[in-house]
Amino acid sequence: MRHSVIFMLVVIALIGSGCSKIEPWVKPYERDRLADPIMSFSRDPVSSSYLHHVYQAREAARGAEGGQGGGCGCN
């Protein structure tokens, strides 16, 4: 029991100290590559939505096809 309490306290201390130090590690000025259009998950929405439609009509799986964001993290 005592060991468990110590273990929990150590874990909490580690998490606490870790969280306080986490900062965005890729600075905005370092995101030029991520902003390149070839890095977009859906470069041409008209094309990707058509292909999703082709697959959805012929496969039982559906959903989580993406398009929620991506690119440079700026849209």
Partner: protein
């Protein structure tokens, strides 16, 4: 660093990238700190699907325009012109032709780092009408490294059969959760979760039938019977990696299951290579595999053999393999008047469908020992895009 960034982004040239760069230059090293609206663009596409006795062609149009600083509105128009002599049609009915038209309107509203979306879609066929409403909200957090998005859609389908005035309603709810995370200067990742629930008396294709044995050497057909509800879950993980010589590698995995006993997985890997200032080439491979629904059988032992009956090949156990390639040519940068630039795009995807428990009844032979069905399909897209 800033000069290098400016050079790379200038070659990349999209409005997204230029917005990011402009903001960065203005705010000194704060590229992409604020969320932005999607680019103003118009796309006009011709699409074609040809495989398994089915040909589907038609246009797809998307137009998007920003209004003021906070709103972006868009509209889409999509048509499938279908000519079908598929194995399902050959086995139990007659070849047919029909058309499906889908129109959508939507608006995105940006306020600081939050984007709110609203869209409405209407789809019309001679025996099928569908309306859906989509709501979404996404927010950038953690210095723009993380984007969290939530989405909800509500769909109302009206399913009928030709020659029969009776129609059946289907209600659909979609719940989406997305997380986009910048991991390194070269790597971005996206996680998606989606749960979909359907409720209705005709969740099956009303023209599909199941077959059952009438003797050791003969069989007959009867209507499919599906449960009135279906709930599915899908989880996807995508990653995109920037290669040092300006190319991109992407990978995708999705896992799926539903209350009908189907589980499915798909993997995709792709590569994008720009060449000189105007050309971009894409290649990809996608693999998909699913098992069959609990109530699926290629051949039931007798009529009304169980409560629920399916022989729709999309409910069977099968796998597909897609190999795709595309090319894009960019033109008119800065010399087309109010148009910033344009691109011509062509892509082809070849898909192989291999069924594990769906037999080709048109081949003849003893019921249950016909050859397993398989077919190939070619999916062609040709489109022009304009940014303004």
């Amino acid at each position: 660093m800033v000069l290098k960034a400016a050079k790379v982004v200038d070659v990349a040239v999209t409005r997204t990238a230029r917005h990011c760069l402009a903001v960065g230059l203005l705010l000194l090293n704060t590229v992409c700190q604020a969320a932005i609206l999607p680019e103003d663009r118009a796309d006009a596409m011709y699409h074609s699907y040809d495989g398994g006795g089915i040909e589907i062609t038609g246009p797809s149009i998307l137009v998007r325009k920003q209004i003021g600083d906070s709103f972006s509105v868009y509209g889409t128009h999509y048509v499938d012109t279908i000519s079908s002599a598929s194995i399902d049609v050959i086995a139990t009915a007659s070849p047919y032709a029909e058309e499906r038209t889908e129109n959508s309107i939507g608006v995105d509203y940006l306020r600081d780092k939050v984007t709110m979306s609203l869209a409405y879609t209407n789809s019309e066929e001679n025996d099928f009408h569908a309306k859906s409403l989509h709501l979404g909200v996404s927010q950038e957090i953690f210095g723009g490294m993380t984007t969290v998005s939530l989405g909800y859609s509500r769909g109302w389908d009206d399913v009928g059969t030709l020659g029969n005035p009776e129609t059946f309603d289907t209600d659909r709810h979609n719940y989406r959760l997305g997380l986009s995370q910048v991991l390194t200067k070269d790597l971005i990742m996206e996680i998606g979760l989606e749960t979909i629930t359907d409720e209705g008396e005709r969740l099956n294709n009303p023209y599909r039938q199941v077959r059952y044995l009438t003797s050791a050497t003969t069989f007959d057909f009867q209507d499919e019977v599906y449960p009135n509800t279906r709930t599915s879950n899908a989880v996807s993980l995508r990653a995109k990696y920037f290669l040092p010589y300006r190319a991109a590698l992407h990978g995708e995995y999705r896992w799926f299951d539903d209350t009908w006993g189907i589980t499915a997985q798909n993997f995709e890997i792709g590569y994008t290579q720009p060449l000189k200032d105007n050309w971009t080439f894409d290649v990809k491979v996608r693999s998909y595999k699913q098992n069959e629904a609990d109530f699926y059988s290629d051949l039931f032992p007798f009529q009304d053999a169980q409560n629920f009956l399916a022989r729709d090949k999309e409910m069977s156990s099968f796998s597909t393999l897609t190999v795709g390639a595309g090319v894009s040519y960019e033109f008119g940068k800065g010399n087309l008047g109010f148009i910033d630039k344009g691109s011509l795009n062509f892509s082809i995807n070849h898909i192989e469908f291999e069924y594990d428990n769906f037999r080709d009844v048109t081949a003849g032979g003893t019921p249950g020992s016909e050859p397993l069905y398989r077919f190939d399909a070619d999916v062609v897209q040709f489109f022009i895009s304009l940014w303004y």
